[in-house]
Amino acid sequence: MKALAKILTGVLVLAACSPAPESATETTDTAQETTRIVNVYSSRHYASDRAIYAAFTEETGIEVNLIEAGGDQLIERVRADGERSPADVLITVDAARLYRADEAGLFAPTDFSGMLPDIADHLIHPEGHWVSLAKRARVIAYSVDRVDPSEISNYEDLAGPEWEGRICIRSSGNVYNQSLMAGLIARSGEEAAEAWAQAINNNMARAPQGGDTDQIRGIAAGECDVAIVNNYYYGSLARSDDPANNAVAEAVGLIFPNQDMGGTHINVSGAGIAVNAPHPEEARELIAFFLGDFGQRAFAEMTNEYPVVETTQWDNPVLEASLPFVEDTRNVNELGENNAVAQRVFDRVGWQ
């Protein structure tokens, strides 16, 4: 057994030491003098972002250290590390997570002015705790064969009895559905929102399964006639190299609802500077870069998201075709405020 203990100690030491080079990259004080770095905690994991980080390092010489994980997980880690958290920039893909991170006191109030001349007010935290980087619209997809788009102008229309057994939508555990519901609550109140959720639940063609792409495929396959999905999933099918995906997209059209009734629901990816950021200056530079030409173009062209900076020039015919549309201009922060209520509404109506 002694031998066993020896081996054990040996391996434990190895375990503690061997992959150390990775963790050593964050020893900030000594490294700062030679190379500038910025530590990013992001729940976005798109190729566009990797391209942006690479271009940022190229242009500024600032190295990007990256941890990608779910929004809630990142929030817990930053919170647990407290004052010693190496996080400089915290990025999430959903307004509700930004709100929660902010509630946990993780963002440093930042004066973004000067960085954001062309960003609408409702995309920025009221006190400058975070700023949106890109936005996506939650829209109604419909079968071009079986649905006349003039039948639908608002999300509310899908609650009608004529849609019974015709709607595909994913689980209410999905944060995009929760934020859509949060937006409805903000606009029409909890009671009306609950009645809507009840009606949608009754009108579903099938119990929720899969992601947004699967709902679009459901329309193309004839299992349902309409679906509520994020616009970029459609964009990714339409612009896929796979002809089968293109065919799915061709069988489907998009409606940007509520043009005269509060605007189409949008959600955002956003970033803020961590309250204990060891490199706040680099963090500012990175956020500015995200909002710069290269960053905004990458979102539009690689991930089919709408840039938040209106003046950005980009090339994406599918995304272009959806413009212009009227979006909900309530501050996206409200989506976070109503998120918990939204989920309870879903629970009460039994939306899986």
């Binding site: 203990a5 992959p19 997980q73 647990a80 899969g210 396959a221 896929s240």
Partner: protein, 539 residues
């Protein structure tokens, strides 16, 4: 029987390691429990009880039962075929059959839903007759198909280690092969099978990705919703206590199996069973039985991903990810095997401490990885808050290492989650060292380390390496703890696969998912070779 005192004096070192194992495994769960019991109350749990809780519980029951039964049947049948029969391809199957374990259940789920849903190829080819893989049944089947290796490995080793006496006696008395199997071999292997099935139940109940994609809301969905939707980590932690209770129950049932087994304990004389030579149609049927789960659990889902991959750009950073995955999986597997074996040794004393330690260690499996990971973070940050001021008073600076940001933290998390998977196999392996055998060896002057090396090791090596292999593969595909605890710029294959799959980019997810399976092959080949050279159980 050896006297109790002889037994009790031996395993002090093993006992120490067992207690360490228990602490490692249980610490995050205890941290979660502490969070659960901390102050502050919301009405969320009442809301949940009035709305979704019954559905969550019912789905958990369905998914767990289907997964356990499916994996139990597949794993036991294959274990028997491989251990006790001979047919063309058996040797290769004996280790290839473990491979589906390397396919993350959510990857199989994404691929099968993609294949079978309306508009998918299976739906089109069958004119809509092929049912969509979804709901509790679909999710349970997915788990059965990728987790059966747990049962298979343990059952195979159990069958291979059985003396053939009882079976032969039954045959001599006129029992059919099937009857002889079910009345002798099966009862003797029951503890091993039950141990495997217990792991399957726990892993399927703790899963999030599969059940959420296939629309089978289990308790772990409710728990994640409490955390991410309602924003209450507190309520999530409280809900996870229900899962811990279920785990205690499942492991309790498994223990019961083991205790009943005592009466079946084989004689000290070990006569390795002879293999039945299968011919013609029988051999073909055996071959098909082995090929089927490989096809359904691995070839078809991964094939679908590859089909999509050919039409999508290649994921980047894969080479680094392979290295990262290999490093953490290897270290964790070795450590887990050591912890598991030591715990198994300590358990032989049947003392209160080792038994309690082993049970505590088993809990790591019960809680969804995302919550367990939060437990690890809470615990590490607790330790940090003690270390920092202490270090400051000594040196004037904070403790030089931020615990949550090291690879050691990651390996700790893996151990706490998977070391339990190494205990049962080690225990079953060690059960083959019967007191009679040991007594004989001692009579011949073999003691201590020499006894272990010459008598124990050859008998347990198969079980212990299987245990290490299980942990290796589990770590390869582990997700939530990896996501939250990894150091900067430390992608693993599972992380990359999940990022793309979660993003609904199945094509890009294919390459990393395939690489997980290929990476798992490396130690499997190594272990298979080692065993065929050294082990007595498998010729």
């Amino acid at each position: 029987m050896i006297s109790g005192s002889d037994r009790a004096q031996r395993p002090t070192a093993a006992l120490a390691v067992a207690v360490i194992a228990a602490l490692v495994c249980a610490a995050p769960i205890l941290a979660v429990a502490l969070i659960a019991l901390s102050d502050g109350s919301t009405d969320y749990l009442r809301h949940l009880a009035q709305t979704r809780l019954p559905t969550y519980l019912w789905n958990s029951f369905l998914v767990g039962t289907i997964a356990a039964l499916g994996a139990g049947i597949i794993g036991t049948g294959l274990g028997w075929l491989i251990a006790r029969t001979a047919f063309p391809g058996r040797k290769i199957f004996s280790w290839v059959l473990i491979l589906p374990l390397a396919v993350p259940a959510y990857v199989a789920a994404y691929a099968w839903l993609d294949l079978s849903q309306a508009g998918g190829p299976l739906d089109a080819l069958s004119f809509g007759l092929f049912p969509t893989v979804r709901g509790s049944l679909g999710a349970g089947l997915m788990f059965a198909l990728v987790l059966y290796p747990y049962v298979y490995l343990l059952a195979r080793d159990a069958f291979a280690g059985q003396s053939a006496d009882a079976y032969d006696a039954a045959r001599t008395l006129g029992a059919s092969p099937l009857h002889a199997f079910s009345s002798t071999a099966l009862p003797m292997a029951r503890p091993a099978i039950a141990a495997g099935m217990a792991l399957v139940v726990m892993e399927s109940l703790a899963d999030y990705g599969t059940v959420s994609h296939l629309g089978a809301p289990t308790l772990s969905i409710g728990l994640i919703r409490a955390w991410s939707g309602a924003g209450s980590l507190l309520d999530a932690a409280r809900l996870s206590l229900i899962l811990v209770a279920i785990a205690l129950f499942v492991f309790g049932v498994e223990r019961l199996q083991r205790r009943r087994m005592r009466s079946h304990a084989a004689s000290g004389r070990h006569r390795p069973p002879q293999r039945f030579k299968l011919r013609g149609g029988q051999a073909f049927a055996a071959f098909a039985a082995c090929a089927a789960p490989l096809l359904l659990g691995m070839a078809i889902p991964l094939g679908r991903l590859v089909w999509r991959a050919l039409r999508a750009p290649l994921a980047s950073g894969l080479f680094d990810a392979v290295q990262h995955s290999l490093i953490v999986a290897t270290i964790s597997a070795i450590l887990a095997a050591i912890l598991g074996l030591s715990t198994a040794y300590a358990l032989r004393s049947k003392g209160f401490i080792p038994v309690a330690a082993a049970r505590l260690a088993g809990l790591g499996y019960a809680v969804p990885g995302a919550v367990a990971a939060v437990g690890v973070i809470a615990m590490l940050s607790g330790i940090q808050s003690v270390l920092d001021p202490a270090w400051r008073s000594l040196t004037g600076a904070v403790f030089p290492i931020l615990l949550t940001a090291s690879a050691a933290a990651l390996i700790f998390a893996y151990l706490s989650r998977f070391a339990a998977a190494a205990i049962s196999p080690a225990e079953n392996a060690l059960a083959r060292v019967t007191p009679n055998l040991e007594g004989a060896a001692r009579t011949l002057g073999s003691h201590g380390f020499d006894l272990m090396r010459r008598v124990h090791w050859p008998l347990i090596v198969a079980g212990v390496t299987s245990a290490a292999l299980l942990v290796f593969v589990e770590v390869l595909k582990e997700l939530p703890a990896t996501m939250i605890l990894r150091p900067f710029n430390f992608d693993t294959l599972a992380v990359i696969a999940h990022n793309y799959a979660g993003d609904e980019r199945l094509g890009e997810a294919a390459a990393p998912a395939l690489l997980i399976a290929l990476t798992a092959l490396i130690p499997m080949i190594f272990v298979a070779r080692y065993l065929s050279r050294h082990a007595s159980g498998d010729e």
